[in-house]
């Protein structure tokens, strides 16, 4: 097996300085810009006050920034090795939430780890991608096309998705399924199989509908006809559209977003922060933010395409797709294109776990880039590293 030897052309360990030089600092600057936009909007959301959101947002970012760099500099083979353990620990936490979780906003999502309130479903978005990337890394293209080999990754996706759906958190469950699907696609699963799944999904939709909680049903129903409940669930969508639309091309100006400031917007600091930005900075500002994200996504693509190991490729693109879904679903939701599901805008929305997820994701993408030339044997690492 000469291939193994070939894949170890480089020394397994670079110096820290070499690694630091490999980090794409332009992207790090982009990430800081996104967090800065977030802080600005949170400052505005609190009526020109650092309290209670903007300040904590920045402090968290500063702390997580260290984590981001640490993740980026950590040898990718360590992530490869810990992919499964990380996944299963998260899965156990998800099960634990089921029994011991804190109930908030009608759902059982958080677990108190003493230091922080952790939302395992958020962490799962990263560890699932890690686990799937590791699994598909070890499969040849032929293996991927054998249905039997798909059973384990299917379990990896559906187990957490099912648990999260039970919390209930339709948004995150959907995100997990979408991220899993993306990795299946990237791994080379035949396209007709996706078609098959789509048809099957359509077939079990009525069953799934009945298993939904009433509030979830209502959300879907009011999404289909927001005017049916102008003061209830449809209210959020309507108000968000009014705020967004009234921003016009150039917006009302920073701190001038009357709709958001007067609390017509629900949860303006989290899920609806984009509405606020679009109200205050108009279409120019909204497109600007989309542009920032687009640059980050393009970087994720570039990293994935230039990585020499399959794990890195799948990981970078899987996480990029994941972040993309965050951005897309959140924006489409506040624009009234999708039902309201609780999905934050990465680095901009207020929220600890969400930022942790985003920063870990960015850190891993950067890590893939730093370690692009390291090859990982398909059968796994046999004790060479660490």
């Amino acid at each position: 097996m000469t291939g193994y030897n070939l894949s170890f052309r480089r020394t397994p360990s670079m110096s820290l300085l070499q690694k630091l030089l490999q980090v794409n600092w332009a992207v790090v600057l982009l990430i800081c810009a996104l967090a800065g936009v977030g802080a600005g909007m949170l400052y505005s959301a609190a009526n020109a006050s650092m309290e209670p959101w903007a300040e904590r947002h920045l402090i968290r970012f500063a702390v997580l920034f260290v984590l981001l760099i640490a993740i980026a500099l950590t040898d990718i083979r360590i992530w490869f090795r810990f992919a499964y353990p990380a996944y299963f620990i998260t899965l156990i936490l998800l099960v634990a939430v089921e029994f011991k979780g804190t109930v908030g906003m009608g759902a059982q999502r958080w677990i108190d780890l003493g230091v922080i309130q952790l939302q395992p479903s958020e962490v799962m978005k990263v560890t699932l991608v890690l686990a799937l990337a590791r699994y598909f890394h070890s499969l040849s293209l032929e293996d991927v096309r054998r249905p039997l080999y798909l059973l384990f990754p299917l379990f990896l996706v559906l187990a957490p998705a099912g648990l999260v759906l039970k919390q209930p958190d339709l948004g995150t469950a959907t995100m997990l399924v979408l991220a899993g699907g993306a990795l299946f696609l990237l791994a080379g699963v035949r396209l007709w199989k996706f078609l098959l799944v789509a048809v099957a999904t359509g077939a079990i939709l009525p069953v799934a509908w009945n298993s939904l909680h009433q509030y979830q049903k209502n959300r879907v129903l009011t999404f289909l006809d927001p005017s049916s409940d102008p003061l209830g669930a449809g209210y959020h969508i309507t108000q968000s559209k009014i705020a967004l639309g009234s921003g016009g091309v150039f917006g009302r100006g920073f701190l001038e977003g009357t709709q958001s400031h007067l609390n017509f917007l629900p949860e303006k600091q989290t899920d609806f922060i984009f509405t606020m930005l679009a109200e205050e900075f108009g279409m120019v500002g909204a497109m600007g933010l989309i542009g920032l994200y687009l640059l980050v996504f393009l970087y994720g693509f570039a990293v994935a395409l230039t990585s020499s190991n399959h794990f890195g490729r799948l990981l970078a693109l899987g996480l990029t797709v994941n972040l993309f879904f965050y951005v897309f679903i959140n924006m489409a939701m506040v624009m009234g294109l999708l039902p309201v599901v609780g999905i934050p805008l990465p680095l901009v929305s207020y929220g600890g776990t969400a930022m942790l997820t985003a920063m870990t994701s960015f850190g891993l993408i950067l890590c893939v880039r730093v370690h692009k030339d390291i090859s990982i044997p398909r059968r796994g690492l046999q004790g060479e590293v660490v």
């Binding site: 293209l141 696609l185 990237l186 009014i242 967004l244 639309g245 009357t258 007067l262 399959h310 624009m335």
Partner: protein, 626 residues
Amino acid sequence: MSRARTEEQNRQKSFTRRALLLGSAKAALLSVLGARLYYLQVVDAERYRLLAEDNRISMRLSAPRRGRIVDRNGIPLAVNRQNYQVHMVAEQAQDVDRTLDALTHIIHLDREDRARVKRDIAARRSFVPVQVKDNLTWDQVSRIAVNSVELPGVFVEAGQSRHYPYGPTLAHIVGYVGAVSEQDLTGDPVLELPGFRIGKNGVEKVHDEELRGRAGNTQVEVNAVGRVMQQISRVEGQPGHDVELTLDMGLQNYAHQRLIGERSASAVVMDAITGDVLSLVSVPSYDPSAFTRGLSSSEWRSLIEDPLSPLSNKAISGQYAPGSTFKMVVSLAAMEHHIGPQEEVYCPGYMDLGNHRFHCWRRGGHGRMHMRDALKQSCDVYFYDIAKRLGIDAIASMARRMGFGQTVGIDLPSERTGLMPTEDWKLANIGERWQGGETLIQAIGQGYMLATPLQLAVMTARLVNGGKAIRPHVTRRIVGVENITEEVKEESPDLGLMPLQVKSILDAMDAVCNERRGTAYSARIHLPGWEMGGKTGTSQVRRITASERAAGIVRNEDLPWRRRDHALFVGYAPVHNPRYVCSVVVEHGGGGGSVAAPIARDLLIETQRRDPMDAMPPSPLAGLKE
């Protein structure tokens, strides 16, 4: 090339292809977002901007202070009183039940109150105050303040409520205010204020718009839950105008006291020259403050089911056969048709017409009567005789000029027209031809004819002022509003009566009171210079049958109240310089001379003593000590 390597390259190629596929899918999704943004923020921006404005700005109206109602001397008759109300904000109270329990130790809250509070709280946003109780005493207010720690979210607020210091004495004139009903809505936004009250009766109703004032408004910025964030602009409201009445409260008080002994009666005192109503009383009455407070259904039922109808203002809407008080009108009509006052008619105690005999109230008859004697002794046969010669339409025509058969136009609601029948009226409304005998009983104010006490006073005033068609009114002036007074000061149109003829009637009325055998002689005023003139009336409520007449007429006092005669009197004073007129109707009171005339006498004495119009020569008693 090794197999593994080829495979690795294949895998990479596949990955790249798939990545591009995914990338283009994402690009497509992002374009959807861009298109949506363009649609919302460019194409539809204007619509959303308008919606946003609506969301943000809210108008808050502030209720204006209602104008006062005062009497001619400025005595307040309807005022606004500080009214302490206890409110509760559910959001701050948290445990509503416990707070209500604590409150029950201080103020009385029955189960109905509690249910209403809970209902209001459920219906409103949790930060909107809900009224728990109003009309708190000062003691209760201070006890709530002292116990405020145990009463979270409870606070006392001073509002204004309408108060009527004279209560039932003025209820029929001043009226009352009540909650705005669906039909009251005119588009004036102030009417939609919660708890706003408008005039529902009396002067409160007639001059509601002047009394009401204009609401102030405050433009405030509100957030989605309606909480006020900041004030944008404020327009001060305008308090309502004060309304000054022609009423003399002292006289009104006296009149009410004088009448209250009767079960059901009414009286009007007015100035014959100006039409100023100085007093207008109807008993029984009710407490208008109860309406401001809000009546319970049992209170309301007992008011409307009371056979004495306390809610109705009998002085303007009670309709009675005027009886002999109508004889002045017949006399005027006679003189106008050249039946001189000296013409004599013989009264044998009855008059036959066709196969029917019409009796005089005096069984033995009055003998030879001319107009003055006939009025003085109220001889029925004299008026039968001249009525037969005049015909009903001649009498009706004069009656209309004197104010009967139509509203006289007082500025109070629900005045009624009474009824002055004619031949055409009977054909149209009853469908039969007029009978000759009906003219006879019409001449003594019986039959179909109906008149209100106000019409009787107006008739007397039109005699006293020499035939001027004065209109009665209770509003003297609206402070800050010009035109009302001008209309009042306008010279009343002349009715075209001959002064000498009027003089002879007033002279006969003088005789009624001040000459022996006059029907009101026993009720005359003994104070020299203050004497009154007048005319009694006793109107039958039932028909006297032939057998009754044969057996001797049953005395009124022996009949059940409902079947007794109405007692009426119209009068004026002082006889030598007439200015004040008065009409009194006591329902089922019996004889006009014995029951109504003494009341009128007392009212006219009191009126002259107070002399609200400064019409009197110095009192002959001025030098005497009381």
